[in-house]
């Protein structure tokens, strides 16, 4: 980028120097006059070029829009007919040759709308017209935006396409390209693909994981049996935190046999993250005791996570601990404890009322807030 910028700048200043040395300085002896004349000449030329470029851009955009408006309905109609089992390949091939960009867009649009047999036919059409090869090539080489677009087109096709290429792209350094490739791989029904993507994305930027969280959800149960325990065993805290965060985002009941091990982890961040998973632990796992223990922890981070979990358990045995934190915890802890109490039914509400009347300024304010929230119609729809 720096090189390109330097080249553009040089191509602006060099002609100024060239005109000055080679032309204007021979005509006029005054240095300022020669410099000003050459500078003004180049500037005027550049401004004129910019104006012409702007006009050309506008013209091209308008022409593109007009052509698209004219051709698109015809293309969609013919493609829809083909998807429904009619239409002629020769006619579509001619249209593709004549309007390649519009054809691409129309096919992409239709692929996103149809499923089943129609999608299979359109996929076959894309292969026959060699569009799949073009998209695969573009996904590897073109600028970032086009690469992502090509990957999205590939993702719309029926069946699997570009398996090995996708694994390579999933390892490239551009987060959005990685995410697009991983998304396609995650859609594969094969468990090993999902596990491979999971182990890859826990080491990738947060953006990739955010984009993939939904896609990985369908594999949640299997990943909790294979990939997640592997991360727990790996000992890499950063990867483990990312993996636990992904698991939490699925919001699904899961078997989490490694929770006991995580509760004894030396990192408070890992313990806190694991506590946030406890509300999703499948029945039969006695996780309430972890929350109870964590509420008495020295780490505020762990206590805050335990309070969020306590709100989900609504267990009467936790009430004394919640009350203690609500009346003596720091600002954020008191607030969370009051919010958790609000979720604990009449007993929790009773404690909040008591805090409102008898507590100090901070507990009273937090209790008032929690009571007001509990009275709102949307209460309980969102996790605390």
């Amino acid at each position: 980028m720096w090189f390109r910028a330097a080249v553009i700048l040089a191509s602006f200043f060099y002609p100024v120097w060239f005109l000055h040395v080679e032309y204007f300085s021979h005509r006029w002896k005054e240095l300022p006059l020669s410099l000003a004349a050459s500078f003004l000449t180049v500037q005027a030329a550049v401004i004129l070029c910019q104006l012409l470029t702007s006009c050309a851009l506008e013209h091209a955009a308008l022409a593109r829009e007009r052509r698209s408006r004219r051709v698109r309905p015809r293309l969609l109609k013919q493609l829809a007919a083909y998807a429904a089992g009619g239409g002629r390949l020769a006619g579509l091939r001619a249209l593709e040759r004549r309007y390649p960009a519009e054809f691409d867009r129309a096919l992409e649009r239709l692929l996103s709308l149809v499923s089943g047999e129609g999608r299979v036919r359109l996929t076959a059409l894309a292969e026959q017209l060699r569009l799949v090869g073009r998209w695969e090539r573009r996904a590897r080489r073109a600028p970032e935006r086009e690469r992502r677009h090509a990957l999205e087109c590939l993702g719309l096709l029926a069946g699997e396409h570009g398996g090995r290429a996708l694994r390579r792209l999933a390892r490239c350094s551009t987060p959005l390209v990685e995410a697009s490739a991983c998304r396609l791989l995650a859609r594969s029904p094969r468990q090993e693909d999902a596990a491979w993507v999971f182990s890859l994305i826990v080491g990738k930027p947060y953006l990739v994981r955010v984009l993939l969280a939904g896609e990985m959800r369908r594999h949640a149960r299997d990943l909790c049996q294979t990939a997640l325990p592997a991360e727990v065993a790996s000992g890499d805290t950063a990867r483990l935190l990312a993996a636990l965060e992904l698991a939490e985002s699925w919001r699904k009941a899961l078997r989490l046999p490694f929770l006991e091990q995580l509760m004894r982890h030396p990192s408070a961040a890992v313990r806190a993250r694991a506590l946030r998973l406890t509300p999703f632990a499948a029945k039969g796992q006695d996780v309430e005791r972890y929350v109870r223990r964590a509420l008495e922890s020295d780490s505020e981070q762990v206590q805050a996570a335990a309070l969020s979990a306590a709100a989900a358990f609504r267990a009467p045995s936790l009430l004394p601990l919640l009350e203690r934190l609500a009346s003596s915890g720091s600002g954020e802890l008191a607030r969370l404890a009051c919010a958790a109490l609000a979720h604990c039914g009449p007993d929790g509400i009773e404690i909040l009322r008591r805090l409102l009347l008898e507590g100090g300024a901070l507990p009273a304010a937090c209790a008032a807030e929690a009571l007001a929230a509990a009275a709102s119609p949307s209460f309980g729809l969102e996790p605390a």
Binding site: A5, I8, Q50, S54
Partner: protein, 485 residues
């Protein structure tokens, strides 16, 4: 000493000063050009907004960080309903809007209460920033996440701090109450944070003039240039400032300003730095400089990023009187921010910020207008009294005015090459005309106001909320009504 010797001395001195000014103006404009070229190259390569599929994935993702949009508001009864309506309809999975009414003297609070069916809430502030007392907190009974904080008047920075205290999200966005954010603006704005959540502490977006654009339901539905040339001049000026300066500085991680009208911050970072500063009129710039100061001092890695994609539309002044006040205020803000953090100047501890961005802002942004004005005055006087030759005047004209035109047209072209937001020929030509004409009188006027601002800043004049005469947004009729009418 004879008259002749004195005459020679005056000529030589004049020639020296004029030469120095020409060199100064040439250097400043060359730096602008270099930054614009860097922006062009970078934006052509990295301009990649989220695709539809990515936007959908983000909207569904439970891992998206929550955002609190803080809208400080003072006497904004005319536009607050439309802009808050727009803010409540953004594409983002988890956000709340916190409007802070800073003791408005008009009906701002009443408008909000009626429009959004507010009720008195028990929500308590959780932040610890010192602010003027909060009178009451309201929440909306509609199915929207809107909080209104009514507090005693304390200035814009105080209002933002009150909003930060009330915010519970890890990210806070500060938006002016006369502004409209693009529907996908929030998703785009959060992108750098998602890419690097550990280091990114602030993200700035682009601010554009909304004057005469059509607005429906709090959204800009038709982008057009204004019928007022003053607004168009500012539209071009904003393009030049945002594309030219900020992209380049952001690439070097030494951006010293994120517009107070549209900025996203990590809440924890702002709290750690002490929040927005009450005693300056340039609280937006001051906070960014302070964040640099804070992190570089502690040698902690951080990033402050500018993005060209997310756009916030704001009403720009259409009268010279209001514009003059605004520009004097901005210049005062620059002076105050730089003065407060003067220890950063040429201090290698502050890396590129101390060695490049700070000196650049001091010598070119702060004192630039004074030198430029001196250049105009000396050139005109020199030509009138025949102290300098006409060719020197021509050289000054080429390096200041024509170079300025080139920078403005480059910014307009950059806009067209990357986003092509203005869809018609007429608008493009109007922008190009504005880019040329703004350098023939308007820029000189701005220079004069900025010199006044510089003087006020050096004298230490204080200020509160900027006064802006609101015209309100130009509303578009709904499509059906339009077709029938």
């Amino acid at each position: 000493m004879t008259w002749e010797t004195l005459d020679i001395l005056v000529h030589r001195f004049y020639f020296f000063v004029e030469g120095a000014i020409i060199l100064y103006v040439f250097v400043i404009n060359s730096i602008y050009l270099a930054l614009t070229v860097m922006a062009l190259v970078s934006m052509r390569r990295h301009h990649a907004p989220f695709s539809r599929a990515e936007r959908e994935a983000l909207m569904r993702s439970p891992m998206m960080p929550a955002i609190s949009i803080i809208v400080p508001s003072y006497n904004e009864a005319k536009s607050v309903e439309q802009s808050v309506s727009g803010m409540l309809k953004l594409d983002y999975p988890d956000y709340e809007v916190i409007v802070v009414n800073d003791g408005s003297k008009d009906a701002t609070l009443q408008v909000l209460i009626e429009a959004f069916h507010l009720y008195k809430s028990a929500r308590a502030p959780i932040g610890t920033l010192a602010t003027k007392p909060v009178r009451r907190v309201y929440e909306s009974s509609d199915p929207v996440r809107l909080v209104v904080v009514d507090k005693q008047n304390g200035g814009k920075a105080d209002a933002i701090n009150a909003g930060i205290n009330m915010a519970s999200s890890p990210l806070v966005m500060v938006v002016d109450s006369d502004s409209i954010i693009d529907r996908a603006g929030l998703l785009e704005m959060v992108k750098p944070y998602l890419e690097d959540p550990e280091r990114v502490v602030a993200v700035g977006g682009t601010v554009r003039a909304v004057n005469d654009c059509e607005v429906r339901d709090g959204r800009v539905v038709r982008i057009t240039t204004s019928s007022s040339m003053v607004a168009n001049f500012q539209a071009v000026e904003y393009m030049r400032a945002f594309y030219g300066g900020r992209v380049g500085f952001s690439l070097l991680n030494c951006l010293l300003i994120i517009s107070g009208a549209f900025g996203l911050f990590k809440r924890e970072a702002v709290l750690e730095a002490g929040g927005f500063e009450h005693s300056t009129v340039g609280e937006d710039m001051e906070l960014i400089v302070r964040l640099h100061h804070h992190y570089l001092d502690r040698q902690q890695p951080y990033r402050i990023v500018y993005l060209a994609d997310p756009v916030c539309w704001t009403e720009v002044p259409q009268t010279l009187k209001i514009l003059q006040r605004q520009r004097r205020r901005w210049q005062r803000g620059t002076v105050e921010s730089l003065w407060r953090h003067r220890e950063m100047l040429f201090n290698p501890r502050f890396k590129l910020v101390g060695m490049f961005a700070f000196p650049y802002f001091l010598f070119f942004e702060m004192f630039g207008p004074a030198v430029e004005l001196l250049g105009y005055v000396l050139t005109v006087l020199g030509l009138v009294f025949r102290i300098i030759a006409p060719e020197i005047g021509l050289l000054f004209f080429s390096v200041s005015i024509v170079f300025g035109v080139l920078l403005s047209t480059s910014a307009v072209l950059l806009e067209e090459l990357t986003t092509l937001r203005y869809p018609s020929w007429r608008d493009s030509l109007k922008l190009f005309a504005a880019a040329i004409l703004e350098n023939l009188g308007f820029r000189q006027l701005l220079t004069w106001w900025r010199v006044q601002g510089l003087w006020e800043g050096l004298k230490g004049k204080r200020g509160g909320w900027g006064i802006m005469e609101r015209r309100g947004f130009k509303t578009a009729a709904p499509p059906a009504a339009r077709a029938s009418g």
